[in-house]
Symmetry: C2
Subunit: 331 residues, 2 copies
């Protein structure tokens, strides 16, 4: 069955069920010109939006639509996590080419709903339209956080400990495996990291509520680029120790087996959606403890310094400027 058999409004009826996960504070959901909801007086609102374009961000032949649905919501939730917030209400726009069948769309929305359910996010509205070419998914997500807890890219201070909240490189290796046709059970964890990232909401909330970290960002463009954003916005530099960068055993095995450049994959590709931040040295242990007691992770990888360059200390002790190169859609 094709979309044209049921029409735009038939499609909205079809996907409507299961979109309202949490009715607290929701005044009106899907079905009007806007959705309507209340925000608590004591919090600030967060707004983020991300567009996923077929052939640019994903290949329909490479990612199962259910995973694509989960991921499209996860990448937005990760932006909320990077501010220390809690995701709340989402609006989804989809432009659908004629070649896409209803089964694929059902799986796509089932994926979004499963992710929404996991994090108690409502899918409150959106827009559906035809596309002359690629499948396009845009999600706008509203979240909330207490104003005094918001974490910015711009708050890092010289001498801060730079930390990661999970391993990096796995998603990049997963993409590498897919693109090079090396998919097998052996690399299941890496492929999963690429297809099914987990937004670190609990980690972000723990860091925010501790009120000790100076800056936070999520690793979407790669550690080098994202730490570069913190450095630029905070007007300082950083030095990172390669041996401290957390990676998984499977990641290291993959790089070794195929002689892939582990430094490039772990620092310069991205899509790991772990958090990257800075915390004053005297508070690092306290933050690590709080994260550990919530089942979250903290890996010190370096420190912020005066200046503006981002440097990497290699395993052999040599230091080189690695700049801030990460993913740029237009270069």
């Amino acid at each position: 069955m094709k979309l044209r058999d049921i029409g735009e409004f038939g499609f909205i009826e079809r996907i409507k069920d299961g979109c309202l996960i949490r009715d607290e504070n929701v005044i009106s959901g899907i079905g009007d010109d806007c959705c309507v909801f209340k925000t608590s007086a004591e919090v600030a609102s967060l707004l983020t939006t991300d567009m996923l374009v077929e052939q640019i961000h994903f290949l329909l032949e490479a990612i199962p639509p259910y995973q694509l649905g989960r991921k499209s919501l996860a990448v937005n939730m990760s932006d909320i996590a990077a501010m220390g917030g809690t995701p709340k209400e989402a609006a989804i726009s989809v432009a659908i080419p004629d070649t896409v069948n209803l089964g694929l769309l059902d799986a796509l929305y089932d994926g979004m709903k499963s992710m929404a359910h996991e994090f108690e996010v409502n899918l409150l509205g959106g827009d559906t339209t035809a596309s002359p070419g690629p499948l396009i998914i845009n999600i706008a997500l509203v979240g909330e956080v207490r104003e005094e807890e918001v974490l910015y890219r711009s708050g890092a201070k010289v001498g801060d400990v730079v930390f990661l909240t999970g391993p990096v490189g796995s998603a990049a290796a997963g993409l590498d495996i897919i693109l090079k046709g090396r998919g097998s059970d052996e690399w299941g964890e890496l492929i999963e990291a690429h297809h099914n990232p987990h937004p670190q909401i609990k980690t972000g909330r723990t860091i925010a509520s501790m009120k000790v970290a100076n800056s936070l960002i999520d690793v979407s463009d790669g550690v080098a680029a994202d730490l570069g954003h913190i450095c630029t916005e905070s007007r300082l530099g950083a030095i990172v120790e390669e041996k401290m960068i957390p990676t998984t055993e499977q990641f290291r095995a993959y790089c070794e087996k195929f002689q892939e450049d582990s430094r490039r994959l772990s620092l310069h590709v991205g899509e790991d959606y772990v958090l990257l931040g800075t915390v004053p040295a005297e508070s690092a242990a306290k933050l690590q403890e709080a994260l550990a007691s919530n089942g979250c992770h903290f890996h010190s990888i370096g420190k912020t310094v005066a200046g503006s360059s981002l440097r990497l200390e290699s395993r052999d002790g040599s230091v080189e400027v690695i700049g801030a190169s990460g993913w740029d859609h237009f270069r």
Copy 2:
């Protein structure tokens, strides 16, 4: 100059100026993982999103990019107007094909900024990415309204007066003129209606603050389809008198000159972005007066009735069911 010469982050730097129109309540704008703002405690939040896709919603050779920028924000603002609200904070996603040059993008953003400025809306964030084909613009817009003033599609009661807040058909005629290559100064108003719709925020606010109207929607899909939405959501029917449908002199002249179907253009195409609502008969005069004293318009076009069909009384007195056919992207 092309986008690839300045890169994604160079582009964000380029467009950043002029995006913050009103700094009241804004905690952080463009440049972090999310934008951050405060919402007043006494209002409800509204969220809407609309995606404009090249070849589906617009042709780059037919609409000047400045107008396209204005329109892409206007259609979202119109959704806020239809709820009785005030637009506040916008997040813009753009997927840009390699063929689009920086001059076009500058004009596109200048258009968005001019519309934002006119209505004191902030452009607080967004996402920019490459596109393998069409230019795609998605805007998510947050607005606000007092909870007791929100106007829904579902509130109409049998016996309500059905009203429009401006002429219809002009935008449809404008598109017809463009598609048929009939553009000339003679039809300037109609082409302008298609390219540069004005969201009726003041009209919507006036209706909402009067608290007498039972339902409201904006005319995006066409009077028949949009009144159909009110009827469906309110579980009733309506009868509209053709002779009462407000159109402009230029619209009538165009239809007469080219023997175009004025009924189709005025009722079944849409994109007029005027408001369509219902109000109890005893309050219609009071609402009309309030609108007039604010320089806004009120045209009674019919009434709601029991049942579920949407009927049209023609100029000759005959009545026919016109259903609810309007624009459906997938049919």
